[in-house]
Symmetry: D2
């Protein structure tokens, strides 16, 4: 699946949150996704909330997996580990850079770096495992 | 801090999400918190979203820490690891049970179990580390 | 499998490290395991090494899983997250307390607390995921 | 510190395990380390043990940190998360590639990929957090 196909699929299966994620680039075993930051993503002081960063990491690993295996809505996260390393910049979109490190029959494993747009040092890293349902589900 | 004091503090510093978390019980080094599930927490099929579970684990560890050290809005999550073990029951509140395992000068470490209310097997577990700012901040 | 059966199985399949692990108690979905600390487990200053704690957490989750599903040497760790919370006491055995939180067809998920014997506060916590091979393997 | 300085420091403070780690390259915020595989690192079937991979990830993050801050024996691991993605090749050295993603005053955070030498797909990934003691300790 390419970026437009994934965008259409996300809109179909996750319509209520699809506005939170813009698929910017899809490559074999990799993708880049943007969360356009809005008031609802912020915490006092203008910083981006933890759940917003978690959601971006989670969707990014899902997209990197779907891009390789095709649309399977039922892929589910089984494990996530995140390090929150820096305070995200205020009023700036988040960008994720994801590498799919393993694509097995039952599991995919990714590494996700999250950046405040335009700033070199990452704000968070995540490792994500997805359980892949059998084809046809 | 006891449950009413923590509830008041959450409302003061995180007003926009305070409705998502009801502090049910606070004990030394432990707490129980409820997320009353509403439409915005759901995914297709009626299951509770991953970010909703992450947010509950994150706030629960924060509450367990604050209960011991007093109100410090600037405590920040530095690490989280979560296992998503079962699909949450549809239309049922989430309940967290948190144990604070370490309370150091700079870090607190917790273990959080998340349940669908009324069901014995947990839906998720999380380990959370908070960085604690110096007193007075 | 009970404690003697698991001990015999460990000796059969992991003979070179079986001396590092004494199965003290096995219950449904739980176990307690001891690592008798010897010179080779220590680091300068007399503290127990990180790999020794990792190995105890890993074997403990394996034992809790085997106790429920029977001997399958090929169960493999897929994910581990550990928090090292306190320096282990010098010259004291390590004891793990493991709870199996999920036992699915393909995955088991555990929570492990590691203690220095006789000291109440845990030195480490671990969450472990094992991939379970199909029966007969 | 460069590779020879770090090698000398490891031999001084961790003499009993220094043979397990060869510092191959040190760059700003990055390093490459080799574990020469010997019989004691193996499990039945010839695969490399989990604790051997953990130890390599742990030492690699330590080296990447020391290379930037200078010799401080007392830096300690506070958190580790590992995904074991593929069975390591039999009879082949392990190579780690580490990126230091954050170097703060109190914490360093790294991402480590572990490879069987000569094979492109990584066998494991790890995220490591080290607590850094104040200078002079």
């Amino acid at each position: 699946m390419d970026a437009p196909a994934i965008t259409a699929f996300l809109r179909q299966v996750f319509d209520q949150v699809a506005d939170d994620f813009v698929v910017e680039d899809v490559q074999p075993m990799a993708c880049r996704v943007r969360t356009p930051i809005q008031a609802r993503h912020l915490r006092p002081g203008g910083t981006v909330s933890g759940p917003t960063m978690f959601a971006l990491a989670d969707v990014s690993a899902y997209i990197a997996t779907l891009a390789m295996i095709g649309p399977r809505a039922l892929a589910v996260t089984t494990n996530c580990s995140m390090d929150f390393m820096r305070k995200p910049a205020s009023g700036v979109d988040l960008i994720s850079e994801t590498r799919l490190l393993k694509l097995g029959r039952q599991l995919s494993v990714s590494h996700v770096l999250i950046y405040s747009e335009g700033i070199e040092a990452p704000v968070a890293q995540a490792t994500m495992t997805y359980a892949i349902p059998p084809a046809g589900v």
